[in-house]
Amino acid sequence: MATIAPTAAANRDYRGGRYKTRSVGSGLVLYGLILALALWLIGPFVWLLVTSISYQRNLMARPLSFVPPEVTLDNYRMVLGLVRFHAEGQAARILPSMLNSLIVASAVTALNLIIGTTAGYAYARYRFPLKTLSLFALLFARMLPTVVLVPAFFLMLRALGLQNTLTGLVVIYCAFTLPFTVWIMKAYFETIPDELDKSALVDGCNRLQAYYRVVLPVSGPGLVAAGAFAFMLCWNEFIIAQVLNTKPDTTTLPPVIVAMNGQTNIDYSVIAASGFVGALPAVLLVLIFQKQMVQGLTAGSVKG
């Protein structure tokens, strides 16, 4: 109570008079809700970290201590292959598959930024035949159940000899990320005034030059949003990698983490460590680029 009231009072200046000053009661309710929300959003992820630096016996102890009584890096040592244990064969796949994930996600991101961005620019600026129809196709591709295509991918990639290759995954992931990229970039380019392109044309650029010399350099935030989102989608994808790249060492990280969970006689704390290692890159990426991603994604979903 004593700690809440001054905060509420201090808020009066900070809020810049958008609403009336909160009463102490509603301030209490608000801060209670904020606390609950913070716990709900981050509690589970923090607990994953806690379990990954705990021993299983302390997780099973009742009453449960939420502050780990013993802290250990043993689980990470197992996951990173520094200690020998019975599931080390599976654990040894984590680092190589992480590299695979990195390769696939980076390649897809690069391709998206090249192909998807130009397409997004055309949709934002020009009228051309089939525009509406192809926009609808893009939208449909984005809402499509990926899994319905997987049997076809399976047979087609086998025919092409691309099963169990990273190239196969890159090609397929591109198709699923491109619609998002086009959409996000289209929305972003619409926020850039087209006087910019016009003056570039007047200054003697051709249309292509106007795009990559004038418009693209001021589109950093949009590119970051689209790129980070594409990277995140690839990094996190599980089902397609699981089904298409079954050979060990050709698959990405999520199937390997699931396989860790499928080991018999393995402690949950070790699985948690592998999960945390897998989650960290995407979480960091999103936190670093949050501002651009939030803008890009909300614009890309809400606007046409």
């Binding site: 589970p44 192809s134 025919a159 996190n236 994604l297 046409g304």
Partner: protein
């Protein structure tokens, strides 16, 4: 300046979109058609001889046409129908939960308070996690033996022992709904938040001067303004819920019994566990049809209402 040929505006634009459209055609539309074909055939993945389509030197097997047999088979299977009803429950519950939780989060984040930017960044954490990790971390919370939530309940003397969240099929299904909502509601919150911040502050101030309370302002100002976004969030959540697979894979594998088997899971299992691609694609195609319908709704929605007038 010199681009050889001077292209018309339309052709230039087509050239720009062509790579992306070609990629999507090759990797989405072609497989989509091929899948449709597969759903009418008797696929045997081990057999590579037989009729095939030669495309640029690549031999794509076509298999034997069996007509509607796969579709008749799945519509005859009571498991398909029970999965469909279960999917509808799942979708309904998920859409409701994700939308309400998302709206609630957005309302909190729309208030001004110290630490709001921090809380907004936390919002992205559940959403940025791979569903594989989401599943694993909720095992750590809900597990009967070592789950933290069970530990909390025990520490608070609310239960004697633990709650078996996955013992009962209905409870397991609801766990899936909530875990998925934990993962997805933040995105809904982002959309709601964007909508709330586009509402003019003057309107609120005027309402406050007129003495409207918080809930009156919410009911008469915020909610009507958010209606298009509410609709958008619902459509997106519906599609996502119909297609959710990865959490089922990690958390329940469709069990106990078939109690968490949705249509997507049934199709996935039929195709990739039983290796029956024909019936599997047929099941998944019934989902695709639903998604096509929802895309039409979404398309009308965003193009009709959000296309900037300029």
């Amino acid at each position: 300046m010199t681009l050889g040929v001077r292209l018309s505006e339309g052709r230039f634009a087509l050239l720009l979109v062509l790579p992306a459209l070609l990629a999507i055609f090759a990797v989405v539309m072609l497989p989509l058609l091929y899948s449709l074909w597969l759903s009418f055939t008797d696929v045997n993945v081990l057999r590579t001889s037989g009729p095939a389509l030669e495309l640029f030197g690549v031999r794509v097997p076509l298999f034997r046409w069996v007509g509607l047999q796969n579709y008749v088979g799945i519509f005859d299977d009571p498991l398909y129908w029970s999965s469909l009803w279960r999917t509808l429950y799942f979708v309904g519950a998920f859409v409701l939960e994700a939308t309400l939780v998302g709206l609630g989060m957005a309302l909190i984040l729309n208030e001004r308070f110290a630490g709001r930017p921090l809380l907004r960044s936390l919002l992205l954490i559940p959403w940025s996690l791979s569903r594989v990790v989401v599943g694993l971390l909720w095992i750590g919370i809900l597990d009967f033996e070592f789950g933290a939530f069970n530990g909390l309940l025990y520490n608070l003397h609310l239960v004697d022992g633990s709650i078996a969240f996955f013992k009962d099929g209905f409870s397991a299904l609801n766990v899936l709904v909530s875990v998925y909502a934990w993962n997805q509601a933040p995105f809904a919150a982002l959309l709601f938040l964007a909508g709330m911040q586009s509402i003019s502050v003057d309107v609120y101030s005027a309402a406050e001067v007129d003495g409207a309370g918080y809930w009156q302002r919410f009911g008469y100002l915020t909610l009507p303004a958010l209606r298009p976004i509410l609709f958008l969030v619902t459509v997106l959540a519906t599609v996502n819920a119909f297609l959710m697979l990865d959490l089922i894979y990690v958390l329940t594998m469709g069990g106990p019994a078939h109690d968490t088997t949705t249509v997507a899971w049934l199709g996935f299992q039929t195709a990739f566990t039983f290796f029956k691609f024909g019936p599997g694609t047929a099941i998944l195609y019934t989902l695709t049809a639903l998604c096509l319908l929802l895309t039409l709704v979404y398309y009308r929605l965003i193009l009709a209402r959000f296309e900037p007038a300029a």
